[in-house]
Amino acid sequence: MLILLNLTSIFIILFVIGFIIALLARKNIIIMLIALEIMLIASVIIFAITSLDFDSLWGQVIAIIVLTVAATETALGLALMVAYFKLREVIFVDFVSTIKG
């Protein structure tokens, strides 16, 4: 239980860090993607730990699934970034809403 609690605090810290980075790094899309990754990893950690604690493998399975999804999502985000870079020759996303259609 203590392990759980300590690692829960790790989860919270990681998640808040990711969130704040995502909120503040408003210009660089790569940093935003990394922040999202951090948040996902935080949730993966809590899944893995609870699976240890409950003697169930499902949490670890879900952790692997979430990792896959995260990888896919990052690939998509990078692809979008490349496309955006081809269009505007920058990767700052402040005015990404101006491309519209």
Binding site: L2, L5, N6, F19, L23, D94, S97
Partner: protein, 728 residues
């Protein structure tokens, strides 16, 4: 064959309505007449199988609605009553289909007209053969809709629009009553099948389980309530006094429509319901009294208004009203056989009258005013013969069709001992007199004397016999008007006839002579029992009940058959007096003795010489001002109040301020406000997602946070006190 009879008109409707434009006018007319004739022939086979061979048939298509406590199925029941009704409907419908090919030949929407006629026939077939009240109601509403469509067929005429709306709205009033009655039956018996609830009510007559209920804060017997509600529907459809105003106005439609719908079949659907649901009506003396009274007054007032109408179709329409009154009061006197007999006969001779009037109207270029006719006997003698046969049959001239049924109805009213039936008999006998008068008036004004129409009509009108397609079907009707009563008499109302054996009628006949309020009867028995202490009261009631039920239609027919001959002759004498009176008064101006007319008045005192009861005449010519009364005292105040309350207060007020419209408007306003927050920055989307999730799970997050803080603090405190132990 059973289903062909019902569904051929529907097939005809589908073909005419959807593909008629590709087939063309000629092919459609041939096709629809042939299909209707086929339906009629299969109906004749049905007549043989069901009525002569006595094989009733139930066709069940399966469940339509299945609710928790009530299940309604698509089923059609072919008993004698249904097949007789089918025979009537399909005969008239076939004739009218053929006739319409001639009558409507120049109409641009001829195909649509034929399709509506077929649809109407289909719904009428459903009414005739329905096995439960719900399917019956489907047909009932369907004929209402078809009546609306057909009255409004020439929809560019304002009068036609008004009449059609009037017809359908007044019918809705009756339908509301009928639907309430259906609901009450369903609540009482948990079924709407005729075969079940019609046996249910008489069987439980002596049980107090559901005898009295509150309706509109009045304690009323359930039998009385159900029968009165059903009779409300009958009043709407069969145009009984009070809800009759739509029927004369419905004559705005084409004449074949008037013949088929507003004389022969649809208006008799109400009477058919009375005959079908006879057991319920027979259980309540109050409703019997009301039915008899209203029927008698309808027949009387219809005839008296018909005497003063000048429109040829309206005269016949009021005559229809009068005959419907006869049918309904025959039902009131428990003479259901007579009512059904009169229904069938009336359909034939009234269709004949209407169709021959249609020929006159058609040939005079849509002139309907009888004052602008006259002298047509030399130009259209065949039409005159048809009209004469129809009128004589209507009057009840001996050994024509109408004679048998009308006399039978009046005799049954006389044979009864109830005072109200005697009253109905008196009104009916006077009506016989007036029927003769207005029929003679119609004949003389239209066919005798000199032509008094406009020169235009005389020059351009087709003042000759119409084409064969309009005449030949009338020959069939004329033959039926002469012989049908004689043919059907022994079958329907003859002594010893087994015709009604399998229908609902003979099992429920309560002898009117012994009909009384059961509660007072039981009270009397109780005092009797207290005095003598001899008889067991319940046994006595059982015996009495058996005596009631054993009075079957056969006994009634026997009573009528062996009545005093002089009493039986009385209505006939009345009708002959009316015939003579009407002929004398109306034919006199055309005869060679017409010079005497002013000389008679010379001998009269001066105040009688110029006596002209104008106001009385206006009263009857204006239909007793019933329309005006409804308009001024019911419709317009109601319209004003509903405009004020329902439209201004509720629809424009409450629903717009607080209703769905208000929600829609407020959503638009909210959306306009929130639009300003959308800047297009990704981190703001991110934040809004996070805030949204936070708000949704706010409660969980707060409690979860508190719990987490508590856990962590406890853990820290534990750690403080247990330095030596490893944490992991």
């Amino acid at each position: 064959m059973y289903l062909l009879t019902i569904f051929l008109p529907l097939i005809n409707f589908i073909i005419c309505f959807f593909f008629g434009r590709y087939l063309g006018r000629f092919v459609t007319s041939i096709y629809s007449c042939l299909l209707m004739a086929l339906a009629w022939i299969s109906c004749l086979l049905l007549f043989y199988e069901v009525i002569f061979c006595r094989s009733n048939c139930l066709i069940d298509f399966g469940t339509w609605l299945s609710l928790t406590s009530i299940s309604i199925s698509w089923s059609f029941y072919f008993d004698q009553l249904a097949v007789l009704m089918l025979f009537t409907v399909l005969s008239i419908s076939t004739v009218v289909h053929i006739y319409s090919c001639g009558y409507m030949e120049t109409d641009p929407h001829f195909i649509r007209f034929m399709s509506y006629l077929s649809l109407f026939t289909f719904f009428m077939n459903i009414i005739a053969t329905a096995d439960n009240l719900f399917v019956f109601f489907l047909g009932w509403e369907g004929v209402g809709v078809c009546s609306y469509l057909l009255i409004n067929f020439w929809s560019s005429r304002l009068e036609a629009n008004k009449s059609a709306l009037k017809a359908i709205l007044i019918n809705r009033i009756g339908d509301c009553f009928l639907f309430l009655g259906m609901i009450l039956i369903a609540l009482t018996c948990y079924t709407l099948d005729f075969s079940i609830f019609l046996t249910y009510f008489p069987s439980f007559y002596n049980y107090d389980l559901f005898l009295d209920i509150y309706f509109c804060n009045i304690l009323i017997s359930k039998y009385t309530l159900i029968s009165l509600l059903l009779f409300g529907g009958v009043m709407g459809k069969s145009a009984q006094l009070g809800l009759h105003t739509w029927l004369p106005d419905a004559m705005e439609g084409p004449t074949p429509v008037s013949a088929l719908i507003h004389a022969a079949t649809m208006v008799t659907a109400g009477t058919f319901l009375l005959i079908r649901c006879a057991p319920i009506f027979q259980l309540s003396s109050l409703s019997i009294t009301i039915i008899t009274t209203i029927g008698a007054f309808t027949s009387f007032i219809g005839a008296i208004i018909g005497l003063f109408q000048t429109d040829i179709k309206k005269v016949i329409a009021y005559s229809t009203l009068s005959q419907l009154g006869y049918m309904v009061f025959a039902c009131g006197t428990a003479n259901y056989e007579g009512a059904m007999f009169h229904l069938v006969n009336h359909a034939f001779f009234k269709a004949l009258l209407f169709l021959s009037a249609g020929i006159v109207i058609h040939m005079l270029l849509s002139e309907q005013d009888m004052r602008k006719m006259g002298g047509l006997i030399k130009l259209m003698s065949l039409t005159y013969i048809f009209m004469l046969i129809g009128s004589m049959s209507l009057i009840g001239f001996p050994f024509l069709t109408g004679f048998y049924s009308k006399e039978f109805i009046l005799e049954a009213a006389t044979a009864s001992n109830m005072r109200i039936m005697q009253f109905a008999y008196t009104l009916g006998a006077i009506t016989v007199f007036m029927t003769a008068c207005y029929s003679v008036r119609l004949l003389i004004w239209t066919f005798v004397g000199l032509f008094s129409g406009t020169k235009v009509v005389f020059a351009t009108g087709k003042l000759h016999e119409p084409s064969a397609v309009m005449v030949y079907p009338l020959i069939f009707l004329a033959i039926a008007s002469i012989f049908l009563g004689y043919v059907l008499q022994d079958l329907l109302v003859g002594p010893g006839s087994l015709f009604w054996q399998n229908t609902s009628i003979p099992s429920i006949h309560l002898k009117n002579n012994y009909f009384f309020n059961e509660a007072s009867f039981v009270d009397q028995l109780k005092t009797f029992e207290n005095r003598w202490n001899l008889i067991n009261i319940s046994d006595f009631i059982e015996i009495k009940k058996i005596e009631w039920y054993s009075y079957t239609s056969q006994q009634q027919i026997n009573d009528i058959s062996f009545m005093d001959f002089r009493l039986k002759l009385l209505p006939l004498i009345f009708s002959f007096i009316g015939l003579a009176f009407g002929s004398l008064i109306l034919y006199f101006p055309h005869s060679k003795f017409r010079g005497i007319y002013p000389r008679i008045f010379r001998f009269l005192p001066k105040r009688f010489r110029y006596f002209r009861p104008f106001k009385l005449k206006a009263l009857f010519a204006q239909k007793l001002y019933i329309d005006q009364f409804y308009n001024n005292y019911l419709v317009i105040p109601f319209l004003k109040q509903s405009h004020k309350i329902i439209y201004m207060l509720i629809e424009k007020g409450v629903w717009e301020k607080f209703g769905p419209l208000a929600i829609k408007n407020s959503m638009i306003r909210l959306q306009l406000k929130t639009q300003k927050f959308r800047q297009g920055f990704i981190y703001l989307f991110f934040l809004s997602v996070f805030l949204g999730v936070t708000i949704i799970f706010l409660e969980n997050i707060i409690y979860g946070g508190i719990a987490l803080i508590l856990f962590l603090s406890i853990n820290m405190i534990n750690n403080l006190y247990k330095d030596n132990e490893p944490t992991l």
